[in-house]
C-alpha cells in the first residue's frame, strides 16, 4: 500500500494527532526536504521556462510569417537549432539542461522540415514530413536515452502512419490503419519491456510501458469492437483474445502491473457488453434491457473483484 495513504488513514482514525501529521510524513521521508525542493524547483522551472520560451518563439514565427523573408525564416530557425546543439555540447546529454536542449533540437528539426516544405512547395505529403523527421532525429533519440524523447519519436511514427493511410485511402481497408498502429505500438511495448527487464528499471519508472500498453490495447479493442458490430472477420477477435492472453501471462504471471490488467479488464467488459447489446437489444423488450443491465454490471463487478484480489495480494507482499 502507498505509505502516504497509510499514514493519512492512521491520522483519520485518530492514531496520529492532526498537528503531528506533517511531522509523521517528514519522518517517513514522504514530504520534501530542502534538497528535494531545490531539485524539484530546478527541474520544474527549467522545463517550464524552456517550454514557454520555445513556444513563444514558435508563436512569433506563426504571427509574423507573412512579413518575414525566406532567408530570415531559415536563419531564425537554424539559429535556434544551433543554440540547442551548442547547449547540448556544453552541458552534455546526461545533465537535465542538456536533455532539454536535445529535446529542443528534436522539435526544431520538425519545424525546419515544415519550413522547407512550405517555402519550396515541394508537393510532399504530410506523411513524408513526419517520416523524414523521425528518420533524421533517430540517432539523437537513440543516443539521448531519454524516455520522453523515445515517446516523441514513437508519436512521430504513429502520425506518419496515420497521415500515410489518409493520403492513400484507396490502398487501405477500413481497419488496416488500426492494424498498423496496433503492430507499431505493440512492437514498441515488447521491446521496451524487454529493455526494462534487462536494465532492471524499477516498477515506478514504468509509466512509458503503461502508455504503450494503453495505445496497443485501445487499437486492438477498437478492432474487436468493429468485428463485433459488423459481424466481420474473426481475425480481429482472435488477435484480441491472443492479446488478452499475452497481457495476462506477462502482467499477471511474470510480473504484476495492475494498471495494464485494469486496461485488459475494461477491454473485456466493453467488448462483451457491445456483443450482448448487439444480440439482446434486437428483441426490444424490458426483459432484454434488464438482462443486459445485469450482465454489464455483473461483468464490471467481476472484473473489479478480480482486480481487487490482485491488489490485496500485492498489499500483503
Amino acid at each position: 500500500m502507498n505509505a502516504r495513504h497509510k499514514i493519512l488513514e492512521w491520522a483519520e482514525e485518530g492514531r496520529i494527532a492532526s498537528g503531528q501529521l506533517a511531522a509523521a510524513l517528514k519522518t517517513c521521508k514522504l514530504l520534501p526536504d530542502q534538497h528535494g525542493w531545490l531539485q524539484f524547483l530546478d527541474r520544474l522551472l527549467l522545463g517550464l521556462g524552456t517550454l514557454l520560451l520555445v513556444s513563444g518563439i514558435i508563436f512569433f514565427f506563426a504571427a509574423n510569417w507573412d512579413g518575414i523573408g525566406r532567408f530570415t525564416r531559415f536563419a531564425l530557425v537554424e539559429a535556434a537549432f544551433l543554440v540547442c546543439l551548442l547547449l547540448l555540447w556544453r552541458l552534455g546529454s546526461t545533465s537535465l539542461a542538456g536533455q532539454a536542449a536535445l529535446a529542443g533540437a528534436v522539435l526544431l528539426t520538425g519545424v525546419l522540415l515544415a519550413l522547407v516544405g512550405q517555402t519550396y512547395q515541394t508537393g510532399a505529403d504530410n506523411w513524408e514530413l513526419f517520416f523524414a523527421w523521425s528518420l533524421l532525429v533517430f540517432p539523437w533519440v537513440a543516443l539521448g536515452k531519454n524516455s520522453i524523447l523515445w515517446l516523441i519519436w514513437l508519436g512521430l511514427i504513429n502520425l506518419c502512419t496515420i497521415t500515410y493511410a489518409r493520403a492513400h485511402q484507396g490502398l487501405f481497408w477500413e481497419d488496416d490503419l488500426l492494424w498498423l498502429l496496433f503492430s507499431i505500438n505493440t512492437l514498441a511495448l515488447v521491446l521496451w519491456q524487454k529493455l526494462a527487464d534487462l536494465e532492471h528499471i524499477p516498477a515506478n519508472a514504468h509509466w512509458p510501458i503503461r502508455l504503450l500498453a494503453t495505445a496497443s490495447g485501445a487499437c486492438i479493442t477498437l478492432l474487436a469492437l468493429q468485428a463485433v458490430v459488423d459481424s466481420a472477420s474473426t481475425a480481429s477477435i482472435m488477435a484480441w483474445l491472443i492479446w488478452l492472453g499475452t497481457i495476462y501471462y506477462v502482467y499477471r504471471r511474470q510480473r504484476v502491473d495492475l494498471y495494464i490488467l485494469t486496461g485488459g479488464v475494461l477491454s473485456i467488459v466493453v467488448t462483451t457488453s457491445v456483443f450482448f447489446t448487439q444480440h439482446l437489444l434486437t428483441r426490444n423488450s424490458v426483459f432484454s434491457l434488464v438482462l443486459l443491465t445485469m450482465l454489464v454490471l455483473g461483468l464490471s463487478a467481476a472484473g473489479g473483484w478480480w482486480l481487487r484480489k490482485i491488489l490485496e495480494e500485492m498489499h500483503r507482499q
Binding site: 497509510k6 483519520e12 506533517a22 519522518t27 514530504l31 531545490l38 530546478d42 504571427a63 491488489l311
Partner: protein, 352 residues
Amino acid sequence: MNTDNTTLWRQLQQAKLVTGAHAPEQTAAATPWYMRAMLAFMGWIGALLILAVLFTGLSGMLESNTGRLGIAIILGLIALLLFRGRENQDFRMQFALALSLAAQILVFWSLSSMLLPQQPVVAALVVMMLALVLLAGIPNSIHRLWSAGIASLALLYLIGQFGMAPVAGAILGGAACWLWQKEFVLVRWGSILRPLAWAITLTALVQLSGEGLHSLLQLLFSRQSSMQPELLVLRGAITLGIIILVTHTMLKEAGIKTFRLSGLAAMAVLFLLAFFIPGIGFSLLLALVAFSRGNHLLAGMAVASLLLFLSKYYYLLDISLLHKSLLLAVSGLLLLALRLLIMHLSASGAAK
C-alpha cells in the same frame, strides 16, 4: 513508495508520533485511481441502462415530475441500503452506484423542468445541497467523487449566474489550492474533503481552459475588453490573495521567510503567470502545492494540465498571436531567471 505497516509504525514510534507497540491490522489496500475510474465509468453505463429500462417499462410515470421524483426516491433508498455493505463487495457496490446515479439523473431532470429557466439560482442551490448531503452521507469513494463533482459544477453555475463567470477560474482554483494545503489539518474529514478537493481542482482546470484572456493585456493591446473593469480588478485581487496565502504557507513550512528576495520573486512571477495566462499559472501553483504535500498524483496531473493549457493557448482569440508570443517568451525568461536566482541564493546560503 510501498512500505509495510510494521516498518512505518516503527519509524513513527521512534519519533514518538504514535503510541502502541504494534501497528494496526492491515486494512484493505487503497484502490488506485485507474481502478476507480474504470468502476465509475461502468457504473455510469449501468445507470444509463437502468434509465433505459425505466423508460421502456415505466414511460407513463416518467412523464410527470411527481412520477420521476417518486421513482428517484425508491431507487435512492435501495441504493442507500446497498451502500451500507463493505466497499469491496463489488457487484453490490456497482449496482448501488448505478441505481444512485439513475436516481440523481431523474431528480436533476425534475428540478430542471420545475425550476428552469425561471429560477436557475434556486435550482443550482438545491442541486448543490443535495450533492453535498450525498457526499457526506454515502460512504463510497466513487460516489463521493461523483457527488463532489456535481457540487462543484453547481457552484460554477452559481458563480456564473451572479455575473462573475470571468473570475470563476480564480475562485475555484483558489479553493482547490486552499483545500489541498489544509489536507493535513482537516485530515479527520479526509474521506469527504479529498474527493471535494479533486472535484474542485478538475472543475477549475476545465473552467480555466475555457476562459479567455480577459485581462489588462487585452485592454492595452486591443483597446477593448469583454470583461468589466471591476471584474478585472476583482480577479487580480483574488489571484494575488491566493498567491500570497499559498506561497506564504509553503515558505513557512519550508522554514524560509516569505519576504526575502526569493519568496517575493516567486510570488511576483506566479502572480504574473496566473493573471495573464491563468491556466498555466494555476497549474504551476497547483504543482507546487501538490509537491509540498507529497501528492505525486496531483503533481503529475498539474504538470500534464500545464502542457494541455499551453497547446490550447494557441487557439485563444482574445489577443493576437504576436502578443501571445511575447507573453510566453517573457514568462519563459522570468521562470528561467527565477530558477537562476533560487539556485544562486541557495548556493550562497550553503556557502555561509
